[in-house]
């Protein structure tokens, strides 16, 4: 790839081919893409594909005039990289697979190389060099597409994780002075931190004396999760609120004992209802059964 200095004429060749045959190349490329099995007609309209391809080729032509095909990180390739980023992003969110996304650039290879060959005629030495640089260029752009696709996907995953983290840790006020945290999903350090902060903040806001941590939705409790729970309980206690852990399923009770986790100092209840009753009792409240309200008026209307 050190030909840029030694053979500038051939470099100009690629640019000249792009100038001369842009529309023909575009037609061939689109035909190639439309005929390919990686085309997802269910996800993208043909018109969108046409406009993306046309835009790409015109930008490629503009960038090719600088005759630098080896380093695509240079400013003249900025526009093309932006376009590819957009294409990758939109395809990643539309649900394209990575190869279907990369096929956008790679499908240009066959029309472009064919064009170079045809144009060069019998001058094989020039052809080889042109083919080489064109292929290398497309490979680079293809890989770039791939990376952008990956980045977008990672962004989506990160965002979803973040959303899950925020969504799954609500602190509910059950009664005057009683708050509850229904935990759903695995408790790792990061989530414990969020849960703890949310819970303590709510304890301050509501002045709650009792916090119920419900772990019905926690699939497994290992020593680490137990430790995180105990930390939360200790922190709430430091703030002056008592904690009750509820929703301990039979398997979880077995695991906790088998692991030798010490939950003796924490009040535990099998379900949230028991925990609530205990909480009310601790606060000196009594639940009595009164007269059932008549339901009839509700049904009439």
């Amino acid at each position: 790839m050190n030909g840029s200095a030694t053979n500038p004429a051939n470099r100009g060749n690629l640019s000249a081919i792009l100038d001369k045959h842009e529309s023909e190349l575009l037609a061939q490329w689109i035909a190639e893409q439309l005929g390919s099995i990686t085309l997802r007609r269910d996800l993208m309209k043909e018109s969108e594909l046409r406009s993306q391809s046309g835009h790409f080729l015109s930008l490629l032509r503009a960038a090719a005039q600088k005759n630098n095909f080896t380093d695509t990180s240079r400013p003249e390739w900025d526009a093309i990289r932006d376009l590819l980023t957009d294409v990758s992003k939109s395809r990643a969110t539309q649900g394209f697979t990575p190869s279907e996304t990369a096929a956008f650039v790679f499908s240009l290879r066959s029309p472009l190389l064919g064009m170079i060959q045809r144009e060069a005629g019998i001058d094989t030495s020039a052809t080889a060099s042109d083919l080489n640089s064109a292929a290398a260029l497309l490979d680079k752009l293809g890989l770039f597409t791939f990376e952008e696709y990956q980045k977008t996907r990672e962004g989506i995953i990160n965002r979803q994780q973040q959303e899950m983290m925020e969504l799954s840790t609500p602190v509910v006020r059950l009664f005057d002075g009683i708050v509850a945290v229904p935990l759903i999903g695995t408790l790792d350090s990061a989530r414990t931190q969020v849960v703890m902060e949310n819970l303590l903040q709510r304890i301050v806001e509501t002045g709650a004396e009792i916090a119920i941590i419900d772990i019905t939705g926690v699939p497994t409790v290992d020593t680490l999760v137990a430790q995180h729970l105990l930390k939360t309980v200790a922190a709430a206690r430091l703030m002056g609120a008592d904690c009750i852990i509820s929703g301990i399923r039979p398997q979880i009770a077995q695991t906790i004992i088998h692991l030798g986790v010490d939950l003796q100092n924490v009040t535990t209840k099998a379900n949230m209802a028991d925990a609530l009753v205990l909480a009310l009792k601790t606060m000196g409240m009594v639940i009595t059964r009164g007269q059932k309200p008549s339901r009839a008026p509700v049904h009439e209307k």
Partner: protein, 129 residues
């Protein structure tokens, strides 16, 4: 020398920490408080740390120690108004202040102390019978 005021309220002592604690301040408080408990024959100590925003392991341990000393001198000790960030820090430092009573605010802490003392008196009365 800088000191943290200790207020006497009936048979209780009230300590409000309004400034950021540094090591010497905590040591002074320890001396002053134990002396006052003995002098006033106090039955309860309430330590309000709602203005305390930064704790390190030393201050955390001092809080535990002060509470422990008060307990030995037969005064119920309640630490009230701990900030969430302080609570998290103490737990992460492994200082969960076992054996120290806590309450959300001064009002609840006072109620807790009164309850504890009433129970004590009832218990004493019961044993005399």
């Amino acid at each position: 020398m800088e000191r943290i005021p200790i207020l006497k309220m009936g048979s209780f002592l009230l300590v409000t920490i309004q400034v950021d604690m540094h090591d010497q301040l905590a040591m002074n408080l320890q001396d002053d408080l134990t002396e006052r408990i003995v002098k006033c024959n106090s039955k309860g100590v309430l330590i309000d740390i709602s203005s305390l925003e930064i704790v390190d392991s030393f201050i955390g341990r001092m809080l535990g120690n002060i509470a422990g000393m008060s307990s030995i001198l037969d005064a119920e000790t309640v630490v009230v108004g701990m900030q969430p960030s302080v609570a998290i820090t103490l737990v992460e430092l492994g200082l969960s202040l076992k054996g120290v009573r806590t309450a959300l605010n001064v009002e609840k802490g006072m109620a807790l102390l009164r309850n504890a003392l009433e129970l004590d008196e009832e218990g004493d009365a019961g044993s005399e019978d």
